[in-house]
Symmetry: C2
Subunit: 144 residues, 2 copies
């Protein structure tokens, strides 16, 4: 495959993300909405949330330990915390099966799916500009 992202997002999403590369400078905005949106983005755009979001988007329904094994470096505490927060925000459903040992399934809601899709543009950007950023850093670090 030419582009790894083609296996993650629908071709449609990727095609649309390409358009982002040329757009007009904007003007002012309602500061009240701005602050609410900022708060929401600050909550959502943290490392673990992003990783869990993408994993569930990829794999569908998973249980607690499966997620823990596949999200590299996450501790039990942070996994619980992240999942609770995402459940509270309506991004995923948590299904407890009353068996022993316990079994809890996690899956994205449509809202979670749409958030994952919204981040498609950022993933596309990151993948496309990875080397540009690396080069910029090297140049910056090399100057006196």
């Amino acid at each position: 495959m030419a582009n790894p992202l083609q296996t993650r997002f629908a071709a449609d999403d990727i095609a649309q993300a390409e358009h982002y590369l040329a757009h007009e400078p904007p003007t002012d905005i309602d500061p009240r909405i701005e602050r609410l949106v900022n708060e929401l983005i600050g909550r959502i755009a943290d490392k673990w949330t992003l990783l869990v979001l993408e994993l569930l988007e990829e794999k569908g329904t998973l249980r607690f330990t499966q997620i823990g094994r596949q999200v590299e470096g996450i501790s039990q505490k942070m996994l619980t915390q992240t999942l609770r927060q995402m459940e509270r925000d309506g991004l995923l459903t948590r299904t407890v099966h009353p068996v022993v040992p316990p079994r809890v399934d996690y899956a994205l809601t449509p809202l979670g799916n749409s958030l994952s899709a919204a981040f498609c543009g950022v993933w596309v950007w990151a993948e496309r500009n990875l080397e540009t950023v690396e080069a910029a850093r090297a140049t910056f670090d090399a100057r006196d």
Copy 2:
């Protein structure tokens, strides 16, 4: 205006972001690229970087104190730190005018502009789903 985001992003970008709401579940991806992209996103998606990015996108070229005044709550230290990091990543240019008192101008590079555009989908999502998320939280908090 019906939609505040219309003043921030080009109509074209917003139209494309709408398409993100329906897309197919994806499959696997090269883990090496995945880790690099994750690292890059983790670096970029922090609160202050996002706010400075959007401000410069809105206002064009600004000097140090102008940014400090308009990014609510940022300290001098964090502002310097954020701007340096963004400059290092090639997202903005820093132009020092050798006058006294000092004058330093900051402006986004094309790379910075494209990153701001890539986040358009997320802003659109956040604005559109603000109330859905609030409602989900209220429901979650109300259950025993």
